[in-house]
């Protein structure tokens, strides 16, 4: 089942900025990463999906309900980018408040509070005022609030922006654990490593438009590089190998070539050996998310320049 489906969803601020014509679908039980540089429109998209912003045009289904229907919100959690909570409440009071807003019963709230506190690593702070928390602790308690109702769908807008390295690792674990229990997560981030580590699917957004969507695997193997080391790289070999892809670099006895996909690699190896070359080393390297990201985002910029 699709947890989120959008149809040409557009949200602009007075005709500019925001995000435009977004079409994506997020299947159940996945961690979906939305990547993009600053100002790309990530937060705009998330805020539109959770109903904080009115879409300019287009539509979307959240848990099968159209945007703005509020009943399904019982099953949604949201950690905003600029998180801020009632400073004068204690952690326990804040969580109780969110439980009540989710229309949970008293017993359910009471039972859930220690669970979420353990999950986010803030046990023992029940009676401390939220205002006395550090920024990272506030972000954690924000996540706890979003988890009170055991959401089916969780929106996280840069959830590690205030966390220390250990906190980031914890957050990763929490996300993976939540996925185990069947929670779908929509993760906004510009931290490539974070997205690469946890997400099953990624979308890359730049200047308000989606420039790539797909399985993480797929996206990463789009660009495959093979490094080949022979006894000597002859001009003849160069001519032959050109048919397989674009030569990226030649250095002494090694040659780097970009091939179509992973499946080309064994075929290429076979061909080299059959042709009688001495193959010392063949190293296959798929691109990192960073490569893909930089290429798509900078490529987009290039195109824009061309247009003008």
């Amino acid at each position: 089942m699709e947890m989120i489906t959008t149809f040409n969803l557009t949200k602009q601020y007075k005709g500019q900025g925001g995000c435009r014509e977004i079409n994506l679908s997020v299947p159940s039980g996945h961690i979906f990463g939305l990547l993009g540089p600053n100002g790309a429109g990530k937060s705009t998209l998330v805020k539109t999906l959770v109903g904080l912003l009115q879409p300019t045009s287009g539509s979307a289904l959240i848990l099968g309900n159209p945007l703005g229907s509020y009943k399904c919100r019982e099953k949604i959690g949201f950690l905003p980018e600029l998180f801020s909570y009632q400073k004068w409440l204690s952690a326990e009071e804040l969580l109780t408040l969110h439980g009540q807003l989710y229309k949970m019963t008293k017993q359910a709230i009471k039972k859930r509070i220690p669970e979420v506190l353990t999950l986010i690593g803030l046990t023992g702070t029940e009676h401390k005022k939220v205002g006395s928390f550090s920024k990272g602790m506030q972000q954690r308690i924000g996540l706890a609030c979003a988890l009170m109702n055991e959401p089916k769908l969780l929106f996280l807008d840069e959830p590690t922006s205030a966390l220390d390295p250990l906190g980031r690792r914890d957050m990763r674990e929490i996300m993976l654990n939540l996925k185990e229990t069947g929670t779908t997560i929509f993760l906004n981030s510009h931290l490539l490593s974070e997205v690469e580590a946890v997400c099953d699917q990624v979308a890359i957004i730049n200047k308000g438009r989606l420039v790539a969507v797909g399985e993480m695997e797929e996206l990463l193997t789009k660009k495959c590089e093979v490094e080949i080391e022979l006894d000597t790289i002859s001009p003849e070999f160069q001519r032959e190998i050109k048919e397989w892809g674009k030569i990226l670099a030649i250095q002494n006895n090694t040659l780097q070539i970009q091939v179509a996909d992973k499946e080309t690699v064994p075929l290429l190896a076979k061909k080299i050996i059959e042709a009688g070359y001495k193959l010392y080393n063949l190293h296959y390297r798929h691109s990192s998310l960073e490569d893909v990201f930089v290429q798509l985002v900078e490529g987009g910029e290039q195109q824009d320049v061309d247009h003008s």
Binding site: E74, S84, Y102
Partner: protein, 278 residues
């Protein structure tokens, strides 16, 4: 909705401004009581003059206390929506399974409960102090004092509805300035109307009526005094016209208008807020 009401009530009573205003209130009551103590000492304890003096003292007390209540209302609710939008606190509230009108109504209820408690307290304190020091009270009819309390409380409730509306689209500071100006216009309009009724000039009275329509708090204040000092059936009515009171009583249509005025601004708050991008 009640969760929001409770939260709003707690939030306002947690603020420093609120504590400051409470201190101010105590200071005011202390001074007022002291004044009454010495004033009543040298004045006749019964008869016509005593009644006139008592109505005057009560008028002054209620006038000033209504002023403090108005400020509490404006300062307490100027940022009721806008401050939470600016800080982002409202974001996690709005994604919960509750409609936006529930937030508006819940907040209005929360602040109203606080204002009703506060208003009832300060109103009772003013009457109580006069009773304690003056003891010339038989002319106040107890049913009327309750009706007058209702009218007295309508003043902060009207202000709160307008402030709420302003808060849905104006930044906190601009909103308080806007409501204070409206409040000022209402008071000045009341003076003009009273002056008009003294010199019998309809033009002046019409200006007063128009400002009452813009912001009916002054009219409610005047109606409140008229109701309070209206004697029990069969008793002789005494009411002294002065700077702080005013003989000219707004009609009951003004009261109906005020109720619709509150509802109108709540409705506007809801419709502006429902379409607002947060």
């Amino acid at each position: 909705m009640w969760t929001i009401a409770k939260l709003t009530y707690q939030e306002i009573t947690h603020r420093r401004v609120f504590h400051l205003l409470l201190l101010l209130t105590l200071g005011f009551l202390l001074l007022y009581g002291l004044g009454l103590h010495y004033a009543y000492q040298d004045l006749p304890k019964d008869g016509e003059l005593a009644r006139i003096i008592t109505t005057e003292f009560i008028s002054i007390g209620l006038y000033l206390s209504a002023f403090i209540t108005a400020f509490l209302t404006i300062l307490g609710s100027a940022g009721i929506i806008s401050a939470e939008v600016e800080s982002g606190i409202i974001q996690t509230m709005l994604v919960k399974p509750l409609k936006r009108w529930e937030i508006i109504i819940g907040k209005y209820l929360g602040i109203s409960i606080m204002l009703i408690i506060y208003g009832t307290f300060i109103y009772s304190a003013v009457l109580g102090l006069n009773y304690y020091f003056g003891r010339e009270f038989y002319f106040l009819y107890k049913w009327n004092t309750l009706k007058a309390l209702g009218l007295y409380l309508s003043i902060p409730l009207v202000l709160a509805s307008v402030t709420m509306w302003g808060s849905t689209f104006l930044p906190t500071l601009n909103n308080s300035v806007m409501v204070i100006i409206l409040y000022g216009i209402s008071i000045i309009g009341g003076f003009i109307e009273r002056a008009g009724s003294f010199v019998d000039k309809t033009a002046l009275m019409n200006i007063g009526i128009i400002t009452s329509l813009l912001m009916p708090v002054e009219a409610m204040y005047r109606k409140m005094l008229n109701v309070l000092f209206r004697s029990a059936p069969g008793q002789f009515t005494i009411f002294w016209d002065s700077f702080f009171s005013g003989k000219y009583e707004p009609s009951k249509w003004m009261l109906v208008f005020t109720v619709f005025y509150i509802l109108f601004f709540l409705w506007r708050s809801i419709s502006v807020f429902s379409k607002k991008d947060i």
